[in-house]
């Protein structure tokens, strides 16, 4: 489990770029919780941190594939494979990420 940021640093639906195990990840705070995923679209590697999210999804800016924030699964083409997602734990306003 790695400390990533303070909850107060996150803005609703706005991407928060970070690194986890030296890999770029992105956090999204939504009305459904805080989600962490690899910052790389499974289609052609475009950073997902370029997009705003909804409460449950994020759409890649480059070709529009939409991913479920919780599972990382694509909900639209052209992406075919899921984006890796991470466990988020919040303790006393601090956000931790784990596999």
């Amino acid at each position: 489990m790695e400390y990533i940021a303070d909850e107060s640093q996150l803005i609703l639906h706005t991407p928060f770029k970070a690194t986890y195990k030296e890999k770029p990840i992105v956090l999204f705070k939504t009305n459904k919780g805080i989600f962490a995923m690899e910052d790389r679209c499974s289609h052609e590697d475009f950073p997902l941190s370029e997009s705003l999210s909804s409460d449950t999804e994020v759409s890649c800016q480059l070709h529009g594939s939409t991913f479920d924030l919780a599972s990382g699964k694509p909900k639209s083409l052209p992406a075919l494979f899921p984006v890796k997602t991470y466990q988020v734990t919040i303790t006393e306003g601090k956000i931790f990420v784990s596999d």
Binding site: H13, E57, Q61, H63, G64, K75, L77, P78
Partner: protein, 467 residues
């Protein structure tokens, strides 16, 4: 794959300058949020569709034109009508229709009423009598076949679930443009296990305003269903606008089979920039049969995403580029599951200063074991000035793939012509015979009346082609 992608909060789409005054006013040239609101108002659309449009408009502005394919730099997006109220369609006099277009109608034997519709003189062509008996048959089978506008009103849940899931608006600049301003196109839903024997033809739905510059078609074939959809006709479609940008999304569920046939002949001032894509699931088959004639520049690459085991995709296309035209077309096959197969057969003909380009992509992902790929592209050059290019891209990331690829460019030689002419044919007819023979493998897949029209059209194009 489900879609709830219209996810960004509503407040972000509340734009300040929604001008109610212009609601049913004169058609507006150029693209703006005002035009999009006008379209949505006129169609009395639900908010979710208005939001999809507005978001697509932002995406359209943010994307640049493709830096490959046909040269599109001359398109003036501000000089186009993005929505013309069907009943107030810009009327034009029969006299204004170019003589060449009129002659082609004449030679093809297009009926009077239809000629006027196709030339934009009449806003509607009454085909209701032919259509209504078929309509009843489809209703009895549980098939839904209507304009996409109507489907947004009558079946919002199905449209919402699938719209933009196969081709998101951010896919490319023209998909974004279409999503922002789409109008017309067909919505087809085929229930599980249903076979529709008579091809569903957009042609019969002219009254439902199926033809247009920015039509949007969505076809959902449920498990085990079978249907054929046919769009277009061979007569030249003469448009006041010079841009046609359609989007066609097809979902072929387990064991279903869809053939989508297009035969279009745009007038030679039209940019024809179309995105067509199908998602094929387990043991499903998707076939695109595509005949591209006319237009100034065409860019069109029907694709099939083979998403589950046993899915099969086919693209069979004919492109015919005559003087001044550039037809850049091809196919895409994405193999993302084991035991999938694809077949691409492309035939192109270039004449005079015409240029036909084949551009294709086959991608086999590492998970796609035991995949079969077959690509054949044949180009026929009719004279010394015509040009043909081929850009086949094969990305095979699985060693367990059988690939067959053939490409051939041939020229109609003096000897060939002489041989056919020695059988008693005139030069033009001989050339037409050679061309018709060349496209025959694909033409025979067209419904008979279309194949006959295509033959006649090629004959017309060949006039004056030989000495």
């Amino acid at each position: 794959m489900q879609s709830q992608k219209n996810s960004i909060k509503k407040e972000e789409y509340t734009y300040g300058f929604h001008d109610k005054e212009s609601k049913f006013g004169k058609p507006l040239k150029g693209l703006s949020k005002e035009v999009i609101h006008m379209i949505s108002d006129r169609k009395n659309e639900p908010d979710w569709m208005r939001e999809i449009r507005l978001r697509a408009y932002d995406i359209f502005l943010s994307k640049s034109l493709p830096d490959w394919g046909a040269d599109l730099s001359e398109i003036d997006f501000n000089d186009i009508y993005y929505y013309i109220v069907p009943d107030e369609k810009l009327k034009r006099n029969w006299d204004e229709v170019p003589v060449k277009v009129k002659q082609t109608f004449e030679r093809l034997g297009i009926p009077e009423a239809e000629r006027k519709f196709l030339a934009g003189v009449e806003a509607q062509y009454d085909s209701e009598s032919v259509y209504s008996s078929l309509k009843e048959e489809w209703i009895n089978l549980g098939v839904i076949f209507m304009s996409t506008d109507e489907a947004v009103q009558k079946y919002p849940d199905i449209v919402k679930q699938y719209f933009g899931t196969v081709i998101p608006s951010a896919d490319n600049k023209f998909a974004a443009l279409n999503t922002a301003v789409w109008s017309g196109g067909s919505f087809v839903y085929i229930p599980e296990g249903v076979e529709v024997k008579i091809p569903l033809q957009a042609y019969f739905r002219i009254n439902a305003k199926s033809m247009g510059q920015f039509e949007r078609t969505l076809i959902i074939a449920e498990k085990g269903s079978i249907a054929q959809y046919v769009e277009g006709c061979t007569s030249p479609i003469y448009e006041i606008n010079s841009l046609h940008s359609a989007v066609v999304e097809i979902i072929v569920n387990e064991g279903a089979r869809i053939r989508y046939t297009t035969i279009q002949n745009w007038s030679k001032n039209v940019y024809n920039l179309v995105t067509k894509r199908a998602a094929a699931y387990k043991n499903a088959t998707m076939e695109w049969v595509d005949a591209n004639l006319g237009s100034y520049k065409t860019m069109k690459y029907p694709s099939v995403y083979l998403l589950e085991e046993g899915a099969r995709g086919e693209v069979l296309s004919i492109a015919f580029a005559t003087d001044g035209q550039h037809i850049d077309s091809g196919a895409k096959m994405i193999h993302a599951a084991p035991n999938t197969s694809s077949l691409i057969t492309s035939k192109s003909i270039s004449q005079g200063t015409g240029r036909a380009t084949y551009r294709g992509l086959v991608k086999v992902h590492p998970v796609a074991n035991n995949t079969k790929v077959n690509v054949t592209c044949d180009a026929l050059l009719l004279d010394k000035t015509s040009r043909s290019d081929t850009y086949p891209d094969m990305q095979i990331d699985n060693a367990d793939t059988a690939v067959q690829h053939e490409a051939a460019v041939s020229k109609v030689s003096e000897e060939q012509l002489f041989y056919v002419m020695s059988r008693g044919l005139k030069g033009d007819d001989a050339m037409a015979m050679i061309v018709n023979g060349f496209i025959e493998p694909i033409a025979k897949l067209l419904p008979l009346e279309y194949a006959i029209e295509l033959n006649r059209l090629i004959q017309l194009e060949m006039e004056g082609s030989v000495g």
